[in-house]
Symmetry: D2
Subunit: 355 residues, 4 copies
């Protein structure tokens, strides 16, 4: 049997010789299939508005959502290999009908006030800057009782759960589920994380607090800013499950991050990917040597094991919200981190992003 025949014979038996694919399967370090990328608010807003005109919500189109598709690997339908990111648009009086799914979701409100998400009978009022959770396999529907369109950022672990072949979906029999509890029930029970009802400790895998209101988030950020900061993220806080100290969900962590005026962070890289949303201000990030200039409403992604650093611009502070798959890497023992040590921790800018 010559080499060619041997190779054919292996293929016929659905076997692969490791020595042929060794370098591909075991690279010295990860090379993401994803690319750093930025989506501009100015480009997306007209498209969202147009979709509001042409796409009515229905059981066939349950959500009016534009998902960010990473150009490096568009078949995955994700902003990164594990994370779905999107903008959702809900018109006054509309209802996005109730359903549930095994992927978990977070919503971060960007425009408008007065819409709501109902999660398992708990009606959560959504205002700019609020972070709302719809944990895995919980019934949820959205409604807009205000007179203005609402826009929020959706973050899901959908690409990961699909990849893990573990996605389940179910539609609720009616468009809106009944409101079974006082409005904002979870906030009233758990809204100050340092105290909890003596008779209630959530032992589930996700946070019992379903709405992290902006006022408290900002207060926490401002207080921390007076005492400490990270060299890589400046004043950055993780939203936590106060009954465990861990991330909001086993697959997702959320950060809020104040880059103070004049600050440029030092670069580092780590396994795991992230989607960033510019909540306030403007500035820039350098990702693997490419500079991305961003302003309010823009969204950008940092793929796994890429160098990245952030800077506020125009002499003002900036606030970034972000979603990370870090808990997955940590749970599986795959988290690894490395600081960038050359050039005082700052990458040389080799390219400037333009779309």
């Amino acid at each position: 049997m010559d080499a060619h025949a041997f190779s054919d014979e292996l293929k016929r038996h659905h076997l692969v010789p490791l020595w042929d694919v060794n370098a591909t399967l075991l690279p010295k370090q990860p090379k993401s299939r994803m690319v750093p990328y930025l989506w501009r608010w100015d480009a997306m807003l007209p498209l969202l508005k147009h979709s509001g005109e042409v796409v009515p919500l229905s059981r066939g189109a349950e959500r009016r959502v534009l998902g960010f598709v990473n150009p490096g690997f568009p078949e995955r339908f994700g902003a990164t290999h594990t994370l779905w990111g999107a903008y959702q648009y809900l018109l006054p009086r509309e209802v996005a009908p109730a359903h549930r799914h095994s992927p978990g979701a977070i919503r971060f409100i960007v425009e408008g006030n007065g819409a709501f998400t109902t999660v398992e009978g708990d009606k959560l009022i959504m205002s700019r800057g609020d972070l709302v959770l719809t944990p895995p396999w919980t019934w949820h529907d959205h409604g807009n009782e205000s007179d203005e369109p609402m826009i929020w950022f959706d973050g899901l672990d959908l690409p990961l759960v699909n990849e893990m072949e573990a996605t389940f979906y179910e539609a609720f029999p009616k468009d809106a589920q009944p409101i079974a509890r006082p409005v904002g029930d979870s906030e009233r029970r758990y809204g100050l994380g340092q105290l909890r009802p003596t008779w209630q400790r959530s032992v589930g895998s996700f946070s019992p607090l379903l709405n992290y209101k902006w006022a408290a988030t900002e207060q926490a950020l401002r207080r921390l800013a007076t005492v400490d900061a990270s060299p890589h993220d400046d004043v950055a806080m993780e939203y936590i499950n106060p009954h465990t100290g861990g991330p909001l969900m086993p697959t997702l962590a959320c950060f809020i991050q104040l880059v103070r005026a004049g600050v440029r962070t030092q670069a580092h890289r780590h396994t795991g990917s992230a989607v960033y949303l510019v909540f306030e201000g403007r500035g820039s990030s350098v990702i693997d040597g490419e500079r991305f200039d961003w302003r309010r409403g823009d969204v950008f992604v940092v793929p796994s094991w890429t160098w990245h650093e952030h800077a506020s611009g125009d002499g003002s502070e900036a606030i970034l919200f972000s979603v990370h798959d870090t808990p997955v890497l940590q749970a599986l023992g795959l988290y690894r981190e490395q600081p960038y040590t050359e050039h005082g921790g700052h990458q040389p800018v080799e390219r400037v992003f333009s779309s």
Copy 2:
């Protein structure tokens, strides 16, 4: 060898025949050596003031503290078998010198504003209703920078730690330790439990938040009151370590409890003991059939496995602060609880406490 001689022989060899002490060592249920008891604010305040006149603080008398001694078992020097409770009195300009010990302590401020406790270089400002922690083996000193005397409640696991033969003590070389951080550092980092610095997760055995300010505590209590309550404790919250969801220390849990106007809770009993402080209002508790009428500043104790229930009085609400040894019972697998089911959950009052 007759029975008498045998018994002598056993004693001589430091042996005890189990059949002689079986019933004592293995009772059907616990019978606490402690008794329910109440200390009156009106009786204690003059004594505290007098001690302020006659006892100067010094290295020989590091704290001006009057400890509650349970009349059932005074040798233990505890309010219960595991818990030390006391009132501490600090005059304007005084300093209670720095030391550390393996027993952990909490302070709940009853009178005054503007004193401070420094814990490992973090200066904590103390105002009425604040809960301040001095965790095990942390350097701490107290000072009063205001013009009025301060009074606070001290809760410690001292009787337990002594009983476990694990007490260590050390004096700091100077009266006051240096202030090494911005004032209120822990509040600024961890003061809203649902967020934490991304780079910092306390993995120690006690809460990283050292000062639970009254404003937030009250807000949490008022919010919870709008949605839920416990049949045995009414609107009760546990102060938690938001990085674990667990108690403040492995040996101590603290509760704040709103007994709404007109509420009388149902009785239950459990292993573990508690010291209660009346923070606001008046009311009464029935403990093993004895009624204790209480008002602001009074302190009372509930021994292990005694029936107890609480009621607010005069048509107004009351607020109770309490310290519990429950975490010990739970960690050792010894926690057990039983509701009182007769008479609609209320004990017949057989005696009324008077001291």
Copy 3:
């Protein structure tokens, strides 16, 4: 802007409208890209032997390994979407040179006695039925000091770790690492899981025991067979980390399973996939209605969310070894299981596998 133009505009901006891909991204239940499949020992053995003749081990070809490639999704280079399975062949006197990688591996010995694997200086002797671990990022090399070729089964989380973009690889400077400890050090310390050195508790994420010898495994299996069995797996045991009770690695669980003579298990399905190796005996499995007849040395796979059941054949018992990705699903909150309740728990056989 008509529908076509809108669609083009979205694509140009790397956005996807969720309403177009909803059904694909959120299926009612998982549909694995993988297919059930079986690889025959009789077909593989000649190919392994041939590879022994034509492929010398070297730094370019560090392992003589034939990997099972699932025909349903061959681009993934895995037996399932998360698991690499393979047969490895090592000739007398050969050394498979030392390296380390972030994916973790297990070896289950199928043919031969007297080879070894060295893991971080601990030389592990490999005999038929032994389970040997080379945990993530540990230096390991293999050698064959016997006069016969060795064949073992390799199980790795490689497809998962690659998919998570977290693969790191490093070659050791020399072919064989130094033996730094007494031979079988981990077995001597931890080989009976119910006792451990008082001064040593492994707090790492993988088992401190690196070699699970067949004699003990079989003894455990035989003992359990006298008292209990699972309806779905018959007499099945998980190899555990005795210092945590958890799986061998965060990404991998290993089972050993005795299907007693005459037993046919009831079907069930669950998220997560598995690779089975027939260690002893013969029998058959039905997977999603297709019957796979197997005998010693055969390997077959069960994809995520497929119905499966096992039966021993010929009136004799069978022993199956298997590798599972279950810990991943459980850590991420994605594990779900369902028993097959029709037809007395047995699937109708609609096809019989032939390759």
Copy 4:
């Protein structure tokens, strides 16, 4: 009010001034109320035999047990402040009737073969060297089906549980509970700690394995002796719960310890106490400068925070079994340890124990 009147007034109100008791309540380091002590087998055996003649077992005298009473604090009825130790004596054909209690117990068999303990319907056969568990609140009775008296060592957390005011006791309606499972059920399921039934993971607070047979214990000890040892305990292993890696019970840890021929360990001290049983050989221990010479069957205690070291004697090895309250200290954050560094780690012998 003069000092005397003030003091009286405080007493009358059940208050203690901390400045009076400061030094007592907060010593610089623990001073155990217990003393090191040794009970001789030669003295106890005749007393056990005599009790066999004069004390028939009955519901009034459910166990024929001689408890070790520490002379330092006899009122506690413990070998140490937290641990009950005793010898139990059971004649041929006798039954020690079934009961349960919240304190947990271990039995280590010293003389005889062929008695049994039934725990929750699981009949455990007891032979010399076996360690048998009767966890908290489990029904248990003992019987002797052999022709010889049985003697075993009892270790309980009884003084601790009593001190914690958490002791519950209940008698079983009949003398012997029914045997509900195959004999030795727990050994068959969990007897090799590195494997467990796939469908069964004990999440309780005590070990699911109820009988640690001597053959496996000795094998583990001999294997470990070939590779490692502790400076303070020589070849020492902890019996663990293989489903958690933790101690047998939350309140008790058990060690088996081989002091090799010619070995004298280095002294250290730690919070927490221990009861030692000499299983094989002879030797001596130095505890706070007092030498205790021991031989087979002797029992001795090491109080909290006392220096201790062990040596085998007569040029032969010795084997010690011991019970510790260490898990309590660790759970409560009170464990502290210190090596003795003077004189090459060995204490000067200032006294020799004689009873």
